[in-house]
Amino acid sequence: MATQTLEQVGTSVAIETVPTGTDLIELYYDRGWSDGLPVVPPTQEKIDTVVAALGGDPQFIECKVAPRWGALTREILAINMVMAGCRPEYAPIVRAAIMAVTDRAFNLNGVQATTHVASPLIIVNGPLAAEVGMNGGANAFGSGNRANATIGRAVRLIMLNVGGGWPPDFDKSTLGHPGKYTYCVAENEADSPFAPYHVEHGYRPEDSTVFAIAAEAPHSVTDHQCNDPEGILDTMCSAMSTIASNSAVLGGHCTVVLGLEHAKDIAKAGWTRSDIRHYLWMNSGNAFKAISRDHRYGKVYNRNLPKWLKRDPDSRIPIVPSADNIHLFIMGGHAGRFSAFIPGWGHMNTPVLRAIDPASAPTDDGCTDGVCAL
């Protein structure tokens, strides 16, 4: 693994010429510039094409990436995108995703360093997702789609190469999870019975956005019996109410993904997105005696939960502090009564919703410059 985490690069981009016939894939491995999978060796032509898609000006610094605080110029962004296998038309999405995770509210420094499993989950909304061929349908979180796979991989490569988040030095995750290779999907807007996520948050349907949250891997929610909102959502509440997640003891935000069969049954009963989120919030969580282990290991207050929560033994501790902290997406294929719960990292991470085209602005308050801290 990389031994040069903090080594400084003398010029904006160090370009080295190697003898003809050098196996560049092996060379990139040797330098520690891979996520463990083979990278696509960048060429000047491929880099230039991506830089052009980003608006030119290769030395323009988009942001700095924690915890190494490397400067992400458009040229460096392009190099990592090519290495990930991205097509040039993915460039605005990758840039928006990186700008979201490097937003101060997101706390990328903590996300990179944490012993928890969390990794940024990127969810794309709006027409651009379909234009580049992203998958929000069958096997959305799985393999087989280039856009999903390589956009997410580019984000991770930038976190590693520019951000320096290499295990075991700066990335101290005890276990990690498979989303640390790539973790990027689209909402299935075409088949969803509800308005898209970004429209719920004030954008127009024709806008394209990225949503970023520090997240565990998806936890499957199976329910083949219930066909009404309460029944289906009670099953989701069961998955949400474990005491083992960071969400349970540290609050923050979480993500709920409803599969199409579940979503359509709920919509048929006339429920809205707001109804779903509030029902989940009201009916999930744990008794304080459960998360305090009934004070078996000493008196527990838990300073990481909001002060306004009662700490009586039977007090309900909601899984996140409000229904607005539950981020609801509709995804998946037409067949299958499966949904997913994705716990967050805790209150240390604030998810960010960001327009891919900076000219797009949400129509509601609480957002500036196309960025909404949720």
Partner: protein, 183 residues
Amino acid sequence: MLMKVTDSNSLVFDPRGLVESANIPIAARSKKLDGLRLAILDNSKWNANKILRASTVALEKTVKFAEVNYYVKHSFSKDAAPELIAEIAANNDIVLTAIGDCGSCCSCCIRDSVALEKLGIPSAAIITTEFERETELTRTAIGMQGLIPIVIDHPVSSITQAEVEVRAAQVALQAPQVWLGGN
């Protein structure tokens, strides 16, 4: 067998980007600890308060602080708010902060200490043995290689009160060296 690259791929592009890292000196050190105002910055991690309170008791056996002021930041995995850093710097002479016993909390303890050192306040961050390498990298990345942490045994979050006392003794031994430096 992996793909063999061709002549057209004879250039290697470094994907890491430039790091602009200075090496800012730590704050000036006092010659003695007696009479100084000590700030305790509790990062709210499990057992941070127990470690810090036991350490304060252990330190007060040999040092007569003018004041001991206790501060808590809400999130152990985020930097302390700038206004909290400013308040601590305005009302104290030295700082003891804990606990860096996880990846993000260690990073943030070190970052808080660097922020305080920049304001002229010698700061001792307590980390555990598992996070010495991360501390070394973090202080280098943010440009204060001279910052010395207090290193205690890992773990902390699940230990007994007797084990807290052992770690507090480790803190009491190391903290004066961090605050006084070579003086």
